[in-house]
């Protein structure tokens, strides 16, 4: 039994010795993170979009990992654009990054469907209109479908602007890939 106690002490010591150099910006909605990611990357910060630590997880969350040494200036920047995080926490372990792989499929040479994770968006290449949105399970998916289907890819607000959830984040990946493929 003493051995187990010793091992536990060592684990605690290791954690305590690990230097905390990264922090996490926690937001209310995953899609706020899309805007924050763009702003901070444009400013040259080394950031990653990741899942929050377990104590912050509800099942549909996303946060931004950043270098803790820049906490003050990043907080000031986000406050100035009205995107202040709900919380800022130091972290010692790496969060999971959302999936950015996509799968593409063409139908009859006319329709292009792109799927990211569980979300699919299909566009008519002749008219440039979004003809279907499929997959997903968060409540903003049917809402985004209502707002986006029938709109031209070039005219429509992106899922990152219309939605709130991780499904919206994945659909935004499909949308961005479609814009890349078909041109904005």
């Amino acid at each position: 039994m003493k051995w187990f106690g010793k091992k536990k002490d060592k684990e605690i010591d290791d954690t305590a010795l690990e230097s905390v150099t990264r922090g996490l910006l926690v937001f209310a909605h995953p899609t706020t993170v899309i805007s924050v990611e763009e702003i901070l990357k444009d400013e040259g910060y080394s950031i990653r979009v990741v899942s929050p630590p377990p104590s912050y997880r509800t099942g549909c969350d996303l946060s931004v990992e950043f270098p803790l040494e820049f906490e003050a200036e990043i907080s000031e920047l986000l406050n100035s654009v009205g995107m202040a995080p709900l919380d800022v926490v130091p972290i010692t372990s790496k969060g999971m990054e959302p999936l950015h792989f996509v799968r593409k499929k063409e139908f009859n040479g006319r329709y292009l469907m792109i799927r990211a994770a569980n979300m699919k968006m299909t566009v008519d290449k002749i008219s440039g209109k979004i003809v279907n949105i499929s997959g997903g399970g968060c409540p903003d998916v049917p809402y985004m479908a209502t707002e986006m289907i029938g709109q031209r890819l070039t005219d429509v607000s992106s899922p990152g602007e219309v939605g709130y959830s991780l499904c919206a984040y994945s659909l935004n990946t499909s949308y961005e890939e479609l814009v890349k493929e078909l041109g904005a």
Binding site: H29, P30, S51, R57, T58, G59, C60, D61, L62, M96, E97, P98, L99, F101, K105, F107, N108, Y111, M113, R115, A117, N118, M119, K120, T122, D124, V131, N132, I133, S134, G135, G136, G137, C138, P139, D140, V141, P142, Y143, A145, T146, I149, G163, Y164, S165, L166, C167, A168, Y169, S170
Partner: protein, 287 residues
């Protein structure tokens, strides 16, 4: 009673509860008509059509408006946590809601207090939160598509958006995903995996696949999975076993696809209208 619950994309719509009536403008519930687009309305319409064909009482719908701000989803979780034991539900299907592990656990804690536990079916956000919370064992049937199957197989992911790349790449090996998900206790006893080939599973074993007729243009159409979930719910309520409900629903969905001859631009209500005919044809084929 068959209870179907989930959010609808109508801003500020309060919690509505009542029998689901099919009208020419959509489904009518608690004095409100809801347009059938996809999601819960499509799932509820499919269930109501099957109940109608089996001459059962109408399913009871529970909806609240939620376009992503969580308010409607929270109203549904809270109502279920406080009132489910008094609703006398035999089958409960929970569908589009904003995943919230804590609120979902309150609903499940309420179910723990019930002498007679209803048959529990989960798809969409409810399936995500059940898996993320380690609560898949509370449910009887899940109905994932391939992207969701990969998520269920990844014991580290809280949401399909976090599925790790190497598991996402396993989608061409669906049996491996099913096995991984089962070994991690992330799925209930019965599962219907929707795809070009549908997989019907019991306790982690594939007991049947359905791949014909294949209407490839169904894949991009939003709501086809919702129809399957609605039909499975109603068929179980009609007395079918979960496995038989999956067998029938999978075939009816494909047959409705054949009858509607969709393009990738077809919307789900165009397929829904063929469900009764497709059901008759499938039941005749199955004898």
């Amino acid at each position: 009673m068959l209870l179907l619950a989930g959010s609808v994309p109508v801003k500020d719509l309060p919690l509505l509860i009542g029998p689901v009536e099919i009208t020419s403008h959509g489904i009518k519930m608690d004095g409100h008509v809801l347009e059938v687009n996809r999601g819960n309305e499509a799932m509820m319409t499919a269930a109501a059509l099957i109940c109608q064909e089996y001459k059962l009482d109408k399913p009871v719908g529970m909806v609240a408006g939620d376009t992503g701000n969580r308010a409607g989803s929270e109203a549904i979780y809270k109502y279920l946590a406080e009132n489910l034991p008094n609703m006398n539900a035999d089958v409960v299907t929970l569908h589009y809601v904003m995943p919230d592990i804590n609120l979902n656990k309150k609903v499940l804690a309420t179910i723990d207090t019930m002498d007679k536990k209803p048959v529990m079916i989960a798809d969409a956000g409810t399936m995500y939160v059940a898996k993320a919370g380690g609560d898949a064992h509370y449910y009887d049937v899940f109905t994932p598509d391939l992207g969701e199957m990969a998520f269920l197989a990844d014991d580290k992911a809280d949401h399909p958006a976090f599925t790790r790349g190497y598991i996402f790449d396993l989608e061409d090996d669906v049996p491996a995903l099913i096995q991984k998900a089962h070994e991690a206790n992330n799925v209930p006893a019965t599962m219907f995996v929707k795809g070009a080939t549908d997989y019907i599973c019991l306790n982690g074993e594939i007991v049947e696949t359905i791949s014909e007729p294949c209407v490839e243009t169904m894949e991009p159409i939003g709501g086809t999975g919702d129809l399957i979930t609605g039909m499975i719910s109603a068929l179980i309520y009609a007395g079918k076993s979960p496995l038989d409900a999956c067998r029938i629903a999978g075939r009816v969905n494909r047959q409705a696809g054949v009858l509607s001859q969709p393009t990738p631009a077809t919307q789900i209500e165009e397929i829904l209208q063929f469900l009764p005919q497709a059901l008759h044809e499938v039941l005749e084929q199955l004898g």
